[in-house]
Symmetry: C2
Subunit: 215 residues, 2 copies
Amino acid sequence: MPRFFLDITMSLDGFVAGPNRTLEQPLGENGERLHDWVLRLASWREMHGLEGGETGPDDELARKTWARVGAGIMGRRMFSGGEGPWDADPNADAWWGDNPPFHVPVFVLTHHEREPVVKEGGTTFHFVTDGIESALEQARAAAGDKDVALGGGASVVQQYLRAGLLDELHIHVAPLLLGGGVSLFGELGTDAPSLKLTRVVESPLVTHLSYDVAR
Amino acid sequence: MPRFFLDITMSLDGFVAGPNRTLEQPLGENGERLHDWVLRLASWREMHGLEGGETGPDDELARKTWARVGAGIMGRRMFSGGEGPWDADPNADAWWGDNPPFHVPVFVLTHHEREPVVKEGGTTFHFVTDGIESALEQARAAAGDKDVALGGGASVVQQYLRAGLLDELHIHVAPLLLGGGVSLFGELGTDAPSLKLTRVVESPLVTHLSYDVAR
């Protein structure tokens, strides 16, 4: 049975973006530092059509994760940083140019309808306006035998956690305090699902914590 | 040079106590689950005058940590759960009975003066009303060649972090989502100190993350 998992980097103080996000600084103040660990990896560079990069435990883990993914889900804010109607969104074409690093169908949760956008390299963005369950159903259909990855942002993560739809959490804890910004888990309430720690992988730059979510 | 370190357990969503704290339930809803990992340890039981308990990586780590400690610091809320004048605090004698598990001098930050309370087993509670720097200075003097441990709560931790006075953070991440309550780091602001990951110890029940704080 294919799995639905979250894969995201947070600071030790629980933020997935720093304070004061702008179009120029979509991850807020110091937020880019969250991803210091991933940008140097050989597997990340490969997905972006680049050569070189580091191998080692972080790279092996990232490579294994990405190999599982048959489709992705993300929120509108992660896609473009914007909100509201698409024709008023200055970043409606998103952050990733003509050849995004996903190379699979990606389902974007939004309140505003839009035709699919076909990019190079296998990434097609589909826009889903009828809720998180529909997005998951469509992503599962697109992924076939492979898994579905949820990338963020925090609001979508919290919605899927509250709905009990996630199978696994893979949290990369970056060794920094962002001091504010977008809280990954927020305040889920006391009916938040139970977790079981399944794997810890460490490196000097990040700690990878994996959990199964009790259904 | 002796060190000043934080040692505390938080949930994956960053809380050190759950929602709705009361005198009967000082760690809030589900908050007791934070400490599932520690209550079973041989070293914890020994500190509480009990026999038996589990050995293994968690126990070794806890034993090494407690052996470093020459004095402790904690906040008033952690001490009694109360606030305001001592004669109106129904838990003014704290949670730990006649023989608290600390076995060293403990400096309690409070706005209300009080004579020291001498307990059995080496624990004396000293009440400090002139601020976090004074408490640290007094604790260092009491600790001699040993280190000073900060136990919480969150408000005191945030004050010491903002003041740049902590040398190390030892965060035990419990595999659960409390869904609300007392956030360990809160929103420290963008001048929060930098961290360097120094150690990861894992077990099925908890992940121990250690960081040096850049001064």
